[in-house]
């Protein structure tokens, strides 16, 4: 494998990996927000003003 092919491979892997990190990171962030909101709603239901 020549240098060009190795670099092409590395950049392709980087593009795919970064895409997945962004997408899964966003999904995880949404999951955390959802969980926090469910907890807040449960707390609010237990202690109504």
């Amino acid at each position: 494998m020549d240098t060009k092919a190795i670099l092409d491979h590395q950049f392709t892997v980087a593009a795919y990996a970064i895409t997945w990190v962004i997408q899964l990171g966003y999904l995880a962030w949404l999951g955390l927000r959802w969980r926090a909101q469910k907890r807040k709603a449960a707390r609010s239901a237990r202690n109504p003003r």
């Binding site: 240098t3 060009k4 092919a5 670099l7 092409d8 491979h9 950049f11 392709t12 980087a14 593009a15 795919y16 970064i18 895409t19 962004i22 997408q23 966003y26 999904l27 949404l30 927000r33 959802w34 909101q37 807040k40 709603a41 609010s44 109504p48 003003r49």
Partner: protein, 242 residues
Amino acid sequence: MKKFAIGLYVAITAVLMAWGFYQAIYVAPDEQTMHEVQRIFYYHVPSAMIAFLFFAISLAGSICFLALRRSHPERAQASDAWALAGAEVGVVFCTVVLITGPLWGHRVWWGGGDWGHGTWWTWDPRLTTTLVLWLIYVSYLLLRRFAAGPQVQALAAVLNIFGALDVPIVYMSNRWWRGAHPGPVFGGGPDSGIHDPAMMHAFCWNIAAWLAWGLLLLALRYHIERQQQSFAAQQAQEAIEA
């Protein structure tokens, strides 16, 4: 039943993602001049198309919010939730576009000589208008996150409508102006299009996969926003009663 439908949808999305990845990496042939790095195209272009779709959903949500906010407040709140969800998921996909594009360009836009490194960024019309689009929608999200008061939703909706005007400019930019960005994949004249059937299949599968994934994120974000709205309304009601 609802849980089963959601589970089924998630399972179909996961299969589509895996199949799209397999098609892009193992089935589609190497492009003749760019070779392996051209495979970035299978994630870059579908992400751009889906970002446009979600910005359009966001625009529709903002228009509906402005139209319904006095006559049908509850429907307006739902429209606003769609607007926010569309903008946020659109920004995520647009971020992917703005990162994968320069990774491809760095390998392909090389200055000559040995196959070294090219440029990460040029102020090409397509790149510049896409960056402006991303900045507009990030400012929309920051406005939604940090501004307070009864007019924030209406102001954000107006910003969204003006921001969406950039979408057709981005789309047409590589037709209207010459630049370093490749020409349109579809509808750009006799030379445009994907001529290899295996490449076309990989491209279409990845559009389907990323669309399914994006709709999943959109639905989840919408659901969270509706919960947030309902919680805020409940708190406001309790404050009035207290």
